[in-house]
Amino acid sequence: MKAFKACLAGLALLGLSPAAMAAGGTMPLSEGDAPLPDWPFEGVFGKFDQASVQRGFQVYTEVCAACHSMELLSYRNLGEPGGPFYNADDPEATEAAVAEFARQYEITEIDDYGDEVARPRRPADRFPSPYPNVQAAAAANGGAIPPDFSVIVKARPGGADYIYRLMTGYPSYEEFQGEYGDELHFNDDHSHGVLTQPAGLYYNPYFPGDTSGNWDGDPRHAPAGGYLAMPPQITDGRVDYMDGTEATQEQIAYDISQFLAWASEPKMENRKSLGLVVMIYLFFLAILVYFSYKAIWRNVEH
């Protein structure tokens, strides 16, 4: 059994090491101004906080959707169990809310006469994309293509923690003496020097990259992280929450991360609740079969 455990530990090590390697060069997600949020969807009994998913969806619609598509999501998904519009007590109200929301957006189609017509979107329609194609997206964003958000939490090492840190990790004006957006003066325990942000790019310690090229200090202590084309988006009061929650930067980052976690893995609650049943079933089956084994072998010396 000892050897078996050692094998498992070794294999676990192998499985996890790529993720550990990829973290090199950026600020570890565990380090930041505030501790990482305690996500309600983590753990064996994890569930999404629906109010937070709702607020996160508001943030997505009002802020992120200007540049980031969610190509794999349809409006109907919003009303599915766990979704922001889901109301377990009133399925009809859920449906109506989804339909009403979808109606705000138009879609252009070619009708039977060959004419272009616009009609309001239906729950079965996909979310609209902000750009007609990737070339248009790149052209509008200085060559950078805003990533699609459908599975973004699964597509980044660190998942929701990463999104949260990236959103809140941009250096703030108060922290730095220089003019924001141009030169960042570092004078902490680790780094002393000036980081000049390239035109149209923004420094973020959690974004993978290399800052040494624009760093005038000791290259061994170049600030962790890299640059991305997205300027800081989330500030206190950036949205006006419909449910009256105070929209601090941390709150907005928490909500959008939670919404994106739901969007990436909408069946997660279903998965974990079924998992519990399966585990309990297998546990009792294992006990039964173990005693059958003992009973069958009781007269055999082995």
């Binding site: 078996f4 094998c7 070794g10 294999l11 090590l13 192998l14 499985g15 996890l16 090491s17 790529p18 993720a19 390697m21 990829a22 090199g24 064996v44 190509e71 794999l72 998904n77 990533p147 699609d148 459908s150 599975v151 699964k154 597509a155 980044r156 090492p157 993978p208 040494s212 200090g217 000791d218 290259p219 061994r220 990436s264 909408p266 069946k267 279903n270 998965r271 974990k272 079924l274 998992g275 519990l276 399966v278 585990m279 297998l282 546990f283 089956l285 294992a286 079969v289 173990y290 059958s292 084994y293 069958i296 072998w297 055999v300 010396e301 082995h302």
Partner: protein, 496 residues
């Protein structure tokens, strides 16, 4: 499918009728019911049955996934997510299939190490072993092609790295590569043929599994003592119910681990980059295969030097395939007559070392070859200065506590521990060279090279030599005898 006398007795008329025409019930009975199995098999032997469960699980979930999957570069990624979102329990089927591959390899590695430890590859079971290695090869091919199907970033660029390797083969390599890819580069043609082959290979695996079982049912199972069955009555029990229930218990425990991954950590064994749709124009920072192929990836990348007329790239490919090819000849490399390492204390130590080498090769495969494993000193700032532009560089460097690493008549390389010294040096010497950060320590590359050497040395040097120089302990007279001895007097008292 067995070498022992048939114990099947058709009871009813219809059974007799079938048995006289197609004795299939007799075949199944003699293979999986009455088949005599050594009674001392431990839990390491349950992985055969566990692997059968893995294969069946993969085939069933795979067939369902194929009903919903679209093998097209523009639609594959979205179709996989559609399975996750819109197919009834699609998320469950896909997560079982994706994690099932990892579970399959976990089980096959334990099964193979068990075969190595107890000498299951030795006469008369050579063909069982070789068929097993063929299954393992087919599994790797199947898993690799399956990983390409979701068409994420790792799928695409992993496939590109591996098929490009084939191009390293002299003369025909480029043609074979194009034939495999279906085009000069990875694209829709590649995805289509990989999908087709990914569906085909598991059935080939199933076929070879039947041969594998046939072979070791002809010779009989090996057992932890490695001693042959002498007396079927004393040494063996029928497969059913004795081993069906023991394997059944092990399968359920294994399924609990499996379910733990599927329900609570379905993506932990994968790579986040594979949830980004494949883009041929954007290469991920680190291309790594799935964990179960990492040791071979480490061996591939360890050969960075030309060996005589063989260029480094081809050398890496030869080493990687050689690492598996050596398993085929293992039965004839081993000179020891004793099967089980229970009675070979020296060989046991080397075996444990070999297991450690394999695990470390996996870690090496996941790591960047230039990353430091063991740090030997603080990072320094290194200048490489052309003497033509800064003739006084050596003297200036020494004045500013620089450490001359090397110098000749044209240039000097100098290291600085302190940033201030380096800045003053750059100003005083007038050089335009930029400082680079020099890490000091042992990188993964030589470690991977050493591990690769040890991997091959185990098979090609240690195993042949051990059999000649080692003095094994006495093997028990028979299986029944070994059980008697190990149970000792406590059981003897209980028996009275």
């Amino acid at each position: 499918m067995s070498g022992h006398e048939s114990t099947y007795k058709p009871g009813t008329g219809i059974e007799k009728w079938i048995d006289a025409r197609l004795p299939i019930v007799r075949l199944v009975h003699d293979s999986f019911v009455g088949f005599p199995v050594a009674k001392n098999l431990n839990y390491w032997w349950t992985f055969g049955a566990i692997l059968a469960v893995c294969l069946v699980t993969q085939i069933i979930t795979g067939i369902v996934l194929a009903m919903h999957y679209v093998p097209h570069v523009d639609m594959a990624f979205a179709s996989v997510e559609r399975i996750m979102r819109d197919v009834e329990y699609g998320w469950l089927i896909r997560y079982i299939h994706a994690n099932g591959a990892s579970m399959f390899f976990l089980a096959v590695y334990i099964h193979m190490f068990r075969g190595l430890y107890y000498g299951s590859y030795k006469a008369p079971r050579e063909i069982s072993w070789i068929l097993g290695v063929i299954i393992y090869l087919l599994m790797m091919g199947t898993a690799f092609m399956g990983y390409v199907l979701p068409w994420g970033q790792m799928s695409l660029h992993g496939a590109s790295v591996i098929t490009n390797l084939i191009g390293a083969i002299p003369l025909v390599g480029e043609q074979i590569k194009i034939w495999l890819q279906g085009a000069p580069s990875i694209g829709n043609a590649t995805l289509n043929r990989f999908f087709s082959l990914h569906y085909l290979l598991p059935f080939m695996i199933a076929g070879v599994v039947i041969l594998h079982i046939w072979a070791f049912h002809t010779t009989g199972n090996n057992n932890p003592t490695g001693v042959d069955v002498k007396d079927e009555k004393k040494d063996t029990v029928p497969f059913h119910p004795y081993y069906t229930v023991k394997d059944g218990f092990a399968i359920i425990v294994f399924l609990m681990i499996f379910a733990g991954f599927v329900f609570y950590a379905p993506n932990v064994l994968g790579h986040a980059d594979n949830y980004i749709e494949g883009n041929p124009l954007k290469t991920p920072a680190h291309i790594v295969p799935e964990w179960y192929l990492l040791p071979f990836y480490a061996i591939l990348r360890a050969i960075t030097f030309d060996i005589g007329p063989i260029p480094a790239k081809l050398g890496g490919v030869i080493a990687m395939f050689g690492a598996i090819a050596v398993l085929f000849v293992l039965p004839w490399l081993d000179t020891s007559k004793v099967r089980s390492l229970r009675y070979r204390p020296l060989a046991r130590q080397f075996f444990l070392g070999f297991v450690a080498v394999c695990l470390l090769l996996g870690v090496a495969g996941a790591s960047n070859p230039d990353d430091i494993v063991i740090k030997t000193g603080e990072d320094t700032l290194r200048y490489e200065v052309a003497l033509e532009e800064a003739p006084e560089a050596v003297a200036v460097a020494e004045a500013h506590h620089g450490k001359i690493v090397s110098s000749n008549s044209e240039r000097v390389i100098v290291d600085f521990a302190h940033y201030e010294d380096a800045v003053e040096f750059a100003e005083a010497s007038g050089t335009t060279a930029e400082a680079t950060v020099k890490h000091h320590g042992l990188t993964w590359l030589p470690v991977a090279q050493l591990l690769t050497f040890l991997y091959f040395a185990y098979f090609l040097i240690i195993i042949p030599l051990l059999g000649l120089i080692e003095r094994p302990k006495d093997e028990p007279e028979s299986i029944a005898d070994s059980i008697h001895k190990s149970n000792g007097s406590a059981d003897a008292v209980a028996a009275e």
